[in-house]
């Protein structure tokens, strides 16, 4: 496969993700680990060459001579295998963030196993961590055969077996070695945070690598999906599992921050938070794929995280359940000079009404998935339903988190209708106290009336982006998914969006100013939403052929970023993005059920 670095930056589609449910790393096609946060998904980075080639920090491993690279995930796992071919031979590198299971395990462990396949190949590695998003250089030591890079309470140790003599240079440690067919080398990076480092013997690292491969295979075997696009759905499930923070059950929208929505642009956001609306899609997907334990864990986290703020909900929560996500800029040059690189997310303080619909859809799906709600949860949800009655008439920032609002977004109102509709259904099933059901019914009817009288454009034959407007919005592709009534108008809206916002198989969110300077690509989740909407409105063949083409648009290991540049299909935005993979699963199931 052709490797292309532009100004030292790999293309976004040239990355693959490895993870252990606690953190994750992006590995480039040329063997560089360019993104890793420690100890958790939302912690500061130690490798951030993704956002600054010079200052970010990286862990390179590649042949000395010119090479070609091909890669795959080991079947049904999140363990990456890269095969390097040079003029002198072939080597195979297996990368994994290992899981506990053999020996005294480090807090986190990145294992890089290298095997000679044929001929002889000279390899080189360079270990250059930088702490706190490149802000702090390490303090180097050499103890017990390990290279130790320390900084305040955090230490990283690199153990190298058959990987050459370690050479110290300014700011990094590096080595070269040669492998013949059948020979093996191993690099293992272990982490300690506020605890002593673990000096793991080679056999323990290799045993954990084997255990990790076995775990992922077992986990994948336990997923039940027999519909179309099976491989894409299984890969999406594996990606989503990596984005779930196992300690709490919360899930990040993406494991990265500030990958730009246009090269050189300013639309660079931190997605390492749990969005309520994503959780709704995630619970749906988890239940569909037979991940009942993960769905329950997420729902428990969901109700626990919202306990401090209910009946008001925040748009997003940190993985530890906190609500502070102050946005600030990092002293990094940004991916291909796309400044600023940010951490935190200013959307946390916005009013986004659609999340109330997402919460009730989550509760509804969870309840349908053979989990009854407990009494306290029912009482909380009833309070939230009353709040929806109080606030649905307010303008908000909407699903796209616009920064020039607030507006009366049609999608937000529809999701408020969905919230009250589900609240009534849950109350009828005895899951919610029924004292206020009449009010919920009355207000949901009022919302329907508002949408049908204020948000419909006869000239465009479509529901519009905001009340009294004439513009289109791809979020309305979700109307069939939430089973919004007015079937003819919903079908017409799907057609209007397909005509007005589509570019080949890619779909723009909207084509109006949203208060943020710069351009953006097409959001891939919108493409999969269109597939689902077409299937749900009776155009199954059309949906299936579009799905075929979109599945082929994944990168070489089946991952998607948030957006693509419609002109050439280049990936843009944070990567890999949960919402896109969730939309893929939903679309596959929607088409599969109707085929």
């Amino acid at each position: 496969m052709e490797l292309m670095r532009i100004d030292g930056y790999a293309r976004i589609e040239d990355y693959a993700l490895i993870g252990d449910g606690r953190t994750s790393a992006l590995v480039a096609l040329d063997g560089s680990v360019d993104w890793l946060c420690l100890p958790n998904l939302d912690s500061p980075s130690v490798f951030a060459a993704l956002l600054d080639r010079e200052r970010g920090g990286t862990f390179e491993l590649q042949p000395v001579d010119a090479f070609e690279a091909a890669r795959r995930y080991l079947p049904d796992t999140n363990v990456l295998e890269t095969t390097f071919t040079t003029s002198t031979g072939v080597v195979r590198v297996v990368d994994a963030l290992t899981l506990p299971g053999h020996g005294l395990e480090p807090m986190r462990e990145l294992a890089r196993s290298i095997e000679g396949v044929s001929g002889r190949v000279s390899m080189r590695w360079r270990f250059a961590p930088r702490f706190d998003y490149g802000r702090l250089a390490p303090r180097w030591e050499r103890r017990g055969g390990m290279i130790i890079a320390g900084c305040e309470g955090e230490s990283i140790a690199l153990s190298a077996w058959n990987a050459g003599t370690v050479v110290a240079t300014e700011g990094d440690r590096r080595g070269t070695f040669e492998l013949a067919a059948g020979e093996r080398a191993l690099l293992a990076m272990s982490t300690a945070y506020a605890e002593p480092l673990i000096a793991a013997p080679r056999r323990d690292v290799e045993a954990r690598l084997g255990h990790t491969i076995a775990f992922w295979k077992r986990w994948t075997d336990e997923r039940h999906y027999e519909g179309p696009w099976k491989e894409a759905v299984r890969r999406s499930a594996l990606v989503l599992k990596m984005l779930i923070f196992a300690a709490s059950g919360a899930s990040v929208a993406a494991p990265t921050t500030s990958l730009p929505e246009s090269i050189g642009g300013t639309r660079n956001w931190d997605y390492r938070f749990c969005w309520i609306r994503d959780s709704n899609f995630l619970i749906d997907a988890l239940l569909d794929l037979g991940c009942y334990d993960e769905a329950r864990s997420l729902f428990w986290w969901f109700m626990h995280a919202t306990a401090l703020t209910e009946p008001a909900l925040h748009v997003l929560y940190r993985l530890d359940g906190g609500t502070r996500a102050t946005e600030r800029e990092l002293p990094l040059s940004g991916y291909r000079q796309s400044r600023p690189a940010r951490v935190g997310n200013g959307a946390v303080d916005q009013l986004q009404l659609d999340i109330y619909g997402a919460l009730f859809e989550t509760a509804w799906l969870y309840s349908k998935g053979h989990h009854s709600l407990d009494h306290d949860t029912g009482v909380v949800l009833a309070r939230v339903a009353n709040r929806v009655c109080d606030i649905w008439r307010c303008p908000d920032s909407g699903i796209w988190e616009v920064r020039n609002g607030p507006f009366h977004f049609t999608h937000s109102k529809a999701m408020c209708w969905g919230a009250l509709h589900r609240a009534v259904r849950l109350a009828e099933q005895g899951e919610l106290p029924a004292r206020h059901v009449d009010r919920w019914r009355k207000e949901s009817a009022a919302i329907l009336d508002f949408i049908d009288t204020r948000c419909w454009s006869e000239s465009r034959r479509s529901y519009t982006r905001v009340a009294g407007d004439e513009t289109l919005d791809a979020s309305l592709l979700m109307l069939p998914t939430i089973r919004f009534p007015s079937h003819e108008r919903v079908r017409a809206t799907v057609d209007a969006i397909s005509r007005g916002l589509r570019h080949d198989d890619f779909v723009y969110r909207y084509r109006v100013d949203d208060g943020v300077p710069g351009n953006e690509g097409c959001f891939l989740n919108c493409s999969f939403w269109l597939v689902s909407a077409l299937a749900r409105t009776g155009r199954v063949d059309q949906a299936a052929s579009m799905m075929d083409r979109l599945v082929a648009r994944a990168n070489d290991v089946g991952l998607y970023s948030e957006e693509v540049e419609p002109a050439n299909g280049t990936f843009l935005g944070n990567f890999p993005q949960a919402l896109v993979h969730l939309a893929l699963i939903e679309a596959a199931i929607a088409v599969g059920k109707r085929s």
């Binding site: 449910g21 775990f215 300690a247 059950g249 334990d293 329950r296 428990w300």
Partner: protein, 159 residues
């Protein structure tokens, strides 16, 4: 009244006050800490019964700790509400830094820890240092509740 029974009664009353304070703080949005839920989910993954089991367990612990307080007061030969409050404050510090943050996750089958990986499913999020994952005021609430508990036990125990 003997040391045992006065400590028993003080422990019961102290736990009632402590539980009420913590529950009220949670209802007012100061913290997501729910001790009964946290303790009860060690025994069951049924949310409905976890809280019942948790309250029973919490009261048993409250009385057991009061008996330890009583033993300490008997050993030094005197007691007072302020000494009880001081021990309560120390107990809160121990609870927040070691007992709930480190020891409970080590034995609790459903609570996450910093080591929990993709091969495990945690139903309850880890409390974190000073239980701050459950809200920024959690330690303050815990401290006040334990001081109240200790003061009541110190006041009730007759040496």
């Amino acid at each position: 009244m003997s040391v045992f029974w006065s400590a028993f009664g003080g422990g019961f009353l102290g736990t009632v006050v402590m539980t009420t304070l913590m529950r009220s703080a949670a209802e007012m949005g100061f913290t997501r800490m729910d001790l009964a839920f946290l303790l009860g989910t060690a025994a069951t993954d049924n949310r409905r019964t976890a809280k019942v089991v948790g309250y029973l367990f919490h009261f048993a612990l409250g009385i057991a700790f009061a008996l330890l307080y009583g033993g300490f007061f008997a050993a030094i030969g005197w007691s007072s509400w302020w000494l009880g409050a001081l021990i309560g404050a120390l107990q809160a510090l121990f609870t927040a830094t070691v007992l709930v943050n480190v020891l409970l996750p080590a034995v609790h089958p459903r609570i996450g820890t910093p080591e929990t990986g993709a091969d495990e499913i945690a139903l309850v999020e880890p409390p974190g240092f000073l239980m701050l994952n459950y809200g920024r005021n959690t330690f303050l609430v815990t401290l006040v509740a334990h001081i109240a508990y200790g003061a009541i036990v110190g006041w009730a125990v007759r040496v």
